[in-house]
């Protein structure tokens, strides 16, 4: 659905060049929800804005749905943009228009006749669960409601691709959850592909099939969530399931065990106890059902002096668990 090759974008602020995106390659498959995560200033926002050419990249190619956008200009580019929906962190609604008229705006831009617009707007507001607030102005809506209007507007042109620029970052946790559920439902119902940027791990957990971690304008790792989490050297698992500082447990060694996919269903604690005669203490941890897979990390303390320790660790690794000394 999206193919990005060798993307580079440098800004000049006060004569000093700042490379926001420094050679990014990215492929997003049809129907996939792809998340780019990273701190602010990592270049995620610029990357996203390069996809629909709100920023024109200095180097590289962007192809969406078989059309190379970087080769288009003016009217052709505007037409291509109409087929790509976008939602924004601060909603970007027109304050002077009602919820319905905000959605209608996207259709006006495309030149849809008035009568058709009215029908389509009603459909869209219904789709996002906001049919009863059609006549409200943005100032009269809550953050979550505003984002629903934003989503309805983004879907007005029946796009197959949705770009999401920190769409839930300005919302409280409950509202974030509701918006993420809505988006998840829409991807399934409408067969949408989503490219999103976020700094919230909650979004990755609830929505993403694949992820890239971005730092200083580059991807430091990327791939399907399930695959990344099961790799012991993955930063993603650490970011999603932070275990905090390592405590001292006298006479014990601490290990971090990562579980992902089917190994998550195995009774590994009792396995250690039964097979290797180990007393296992759980020091910290979380296991959750993510959108992409079931996964988690547990920090366990095992008795230092136990004879079966080395065998036990080997056994866990063979079974598919990620095991490493806690640090």
């Amino acid at each position: 659905m999206i193919r990005i090759e060798g993307l580079r974008k440098t800004f000049h602020s006060r004569g000093r060049p700042v490379t926001a995106v420094d050679g990014v390659d990215l492929t997003v498959a049809e129907g996939e929800v792809f998340g780019v995560v990273g701190r602010s200033g990592a270049g995620k926002s610029t990357l996203l804005r390069c996809v629909n050419l709100l920023e024109r990249p200095d180097e590289g190619h962007v192809t969406v749905d078989g059309v190379e956008l970087t080769a288009l200009r003016d009217d052709r580019l505007r037409q291509a943009r109409q087929g790509i929906g976008m939602i924004h962190q601060h909603f970007a609604l027109l304050a002077s228009r009602t919820a319905a008229d905000n959605v209608s705006f996207a259709l006006e831009v495309m030149g849809v006749p008035r009568r058709e617009r009215a029908v389509r707007v009603a459909e869209l507001l219904d789709l996002v669960g906001l049919a009863d607030r059609a006549g409200a102005y943005p100032a009269q809506l809550s953050g979550g409601q505003k984002q629903r209007v934003g989503i309805a507007r983004a879907l007005a042109s029946r796009p197959r691709l949705l770009l999401s620029d920190e769409a839930t970052s300005a919302l409280d946790p409950d509202t974030t959850g509701a918006i993420l559920s809505l988006l998840r439902g829409l991807t399934q119902r409408l067969g949408l592909t989503i490219l999103l940027i976020t700094h919230e791990m909650e979004v990755v957990k609830r929505l993403c099939d694949a992820v890239a971690i971005m730092r200083d304008g580059r991807f430091v790792e990327s791939g399907p969530v399930a695959e990344l989490i099961s790799r012991t050297d993955s930063q993603l698992a650490r970011d999603i399931f932070p275990l905090g500082p390592v405590p001292t447990v006298p006479g014990h060694l601490l290990y971090d065990v990562t579980l992902a996919g089917t190994v998550g269903d195995e009774a590994f604690v009792s396995r250690l106890t039964r097979r290797h005669d180990l007393d296992v203490r759980i020091v910290a941890g979380a296991v959750e059902q993510l959108a992409a897979t079931r996964a988690g990390r547990l920090r366990i303390a095992l008795p230092e002096a136990a004879p079966g320790l080395a065998d036990a660790l080997g056994d866990l690794r063979t079974a598919g668990f990620g095991v490493e000394a806690a640090r």
């Binding site: 629909n52 709100l54 505007r78 943009r81 924004h88 027109l94």
Partner: protein, 218 residues
């Protein structure tokens, strides 16, 4: 009891002021809107970025803004003659009034449009909106409350400037106050003019506020 000839004087002054200010408002409203939009569009990072043109436009606007009205009135008299064929009279006064109000309103328009968020413009671009659609349906439409409030300020300023139009025989309420009230010590004319000016300014401000409030949904 107000003397009938005083009523006539005040009425005549009011009509002259209304004529000068009304026409100047229409012309400078349109001109200021145009210049203000150009200032925004040609700015660095604007929809029609042209930093040098922007700088030049800004300079012209600033020159217009720095001249005291009474100086401008005299300084542009050749231009006034070229436009309306004379440099004296009520119609002639409209030219300098308009010339001075255009840069004044242009800066207000610029500020009002700047209030429209960058993210809203980006959202419109992302939807595939054309420049024209962005200018008309996003920038101007979203800035409407500020544009109306700014136009109100401009009208009130024009009423003030029009008092000086008497210098070139423009007439109007301000001229009336100066000639009868100040120079001939006719206090009733002075008081009548001042009261009428207060009422007019108050009415303009109230009308402007009401329209701006109706347009604002923030």
């Amino acid at each position: 009891m107000i003397a009938p000839d005083l009523v006539d004087l005040l009425w005549q002054g009011f009509v002259e002021t209304a004529y000068m200010v009304g026409v100047a408002t229409l012309l400078s409203g349109a001109g200021g809107l145009l210049v203000g939009v150009l200032l925004i569009l040609t700015d660095r990072g604007g929809l029609l970025a042209a930093p040098r043109l922007n700088g030049l436009l800004g300079l012209i606007v600033n020159i217009g803004r720095s001249l005291p009205f009474i100086i401008l009135l005299v300084a542009i008299s050749p231009f006034t003659r070229a436009v309306v064929g004379t440099t004296i009279g009520t119609t002639a006064a409209i030219v300098p009034l308009t010339v001075s109000a255009i840069p004044f309103y242009a800066r207000i328009v610029e500020a009002a449009i700047r209030e429209v968020g960058r993210d809203v413009v980006d959202a419109a671009r992302a939807m595939g909106a054309s420049r024209r659609q962005i200018i008309v349906k996003v920038l101007l439409r979203e800035a409407r409350p500020g544009l109306v409030a700014g136009l109100t300020i401009t009208v009130v300023a024009l009423i003030g400037y029009s008092a000086m139009a008497g210098v070139i025989g423009g007439g109007g309420l301000g001229d009336l106050a100066l000639r009868y009230g100040y120079q001939r010590f006719e206090d009733d004319v002075m008081v009548g003019t001042v009261v009428l000016l207060i009422v007019v300014v108050q009415a303009v401000q109230m009308l402007g506020d009401r329209v701006a409030r109706r347009l604002s949904h923030r």
